[in-house]
Symmetry: C2
């Protein structure tokens, strides 16, 4: 363990960076950037500390001066990509537009970096970028009329849905042979689905009715549909509460 290891259970985010001494040839930022490069190219399994060292033109274990463990590096990486999402400032638009932007921004980040889905489950996101996003979300929802625990509930509803659906979408995309389009993949699978779905009554019936659909924009449309329904549900709750309140 390098000497900057965490003595008191503090997280990566609270520990100050080093300052004096020989000038470093590496940096946290560079390490994180390179790790993301590697992850984008080869996926979560494709990142090993040795490969990272190689790509950095450094020794296999050199990164360990800047990062206590691989898990910690992954925490930094997760927060870094969270920084790619932009949430409108409070008051810039109505809350529905802002929430929609948040949802779509988060989703497209995940589709850009599908390996993040493997990182969401491990530790709660507390990095500065994730916090900044939470902060804006809280602001937007508060301005919309939510208060108290409802804010937390609504924001978690939003985030959870996006994370869940993008996780499943990424899983599906990963399972098709790379390079083929969605339509081609579905065409390939069609006989198999025919066979399987025939054994399940409701699913089979649905499939017989809908096997002709164009699968190209299905994921996008499904996501947009879900976000609308979800915001409808929240809006309805606000409306009902406003009706009941001033009575």
């Amino acid at each position: 363990m390098p000497s900057n290891a965490d003595p008191l259970g503090q997280s990566v985010w609270t520990r100050p960076p080093r300052s004096r001494g020989a000038q470093p040839t590496l940096s946290r930022a560079q390490i994180v950037r390179t790790a993301i490069e590697l992850l984008d190219e080869k996926g979560l399994d494709g990142l090993s500390m040795r490969r990272l060292g190689e790509r950095l033109a450094a020794g296999a274990t050199s990164a360990y001066w800047y990062v206590a463990t691989k898990d910690e590096l992954l925490e930094l990486v997760l927060d870094e990509v969270m920084g790619e999402i932009e949430v409108p400032e409070v008051g810039a638009t109505d809350w529905r537009t802002a929430a929609t932007a948040l949802a779509h921004g988060l989703r497209s980040m995940i589709l850009r970096h599908p390996w993040v889905t493997g990182l969401f489950g491990v530790r709660p996101m507390m990095g500065p970028n994730a916090m900044r996003m939470s902060d804006r979300t809280v602001g937007v929802l508060t301005a919309a009329g939510f208060s108290g625990m409802d804010v937390a509930y609504a924001s978690s509803l939003l985030m959870s849905h996006v994370i869940g659906s993008a996780t499943m979408e990424a899983a599906w995309k990963r399972s098709i042979t790379p390079g083929t389009s969605v339509s081609e993949a579905v065409d390939e699978l069609r006989p198999y689905i025919d066979e399987v779905s025939s054994r399940y009554p409701h699913y089979g019936a649905w499939w017989r009715e809908n096997r002709g659909m164009d699968p190209e924009n299905l994921q996008d449309e499904g996501f947009a549909f879900a976000v609308e329904r979800l915001l409808d549900g929240l809006q309805l709750w606000l409306d009902r509460r406003n009706e009941a309140g001033p009575a």
Copy 2:
């Protein structure tokens, strides 16, 4: 690779089990059961093929006769725990009750086996238990009045939300020292949250108003709230459509 390895890219589910020959001392079912035991005790990282062999009182690589790779074993394991969820048959209750049962059933399965969150993202779920669940879900939603792609959208909305929120809940639970209750954990974290939240305006304001809340049933309440909003949103869409249709 054992000789029953998949020659044509078929999945685990289509390959028939072995029949003739020396009577086996192991079985797929037993292997899967033991793997789940180990996973429940030690988490995703705690499962190694060697440990599995040990616990089975067998050689380190013996399980490889029944399972081509560890990933395949995990696919079986995932489907096995999916079998723990019960979805009401179509017509047994109104669709809202059925959907609520599905959501809560899936959530409590995930909280019982938190390691599954690491499995959702890797491959689409196509095992028999997952299919059975999808089938019932499709049935319930069709009976409710959804049709065509809406069925897929609505069912994915439901599942995605549960998976996302349970993933984040499991992450949070994992990060607190085991054995301490939720309230104790929050009490421990309180000074840290005070410090962090002060740097984020909206989040900080929200925290100052709400730092006194009782965190004990927060997760449960938040989940129930979200499911209600989500079903409201779907219901509203059905209503609007029924209004517009017969006009």
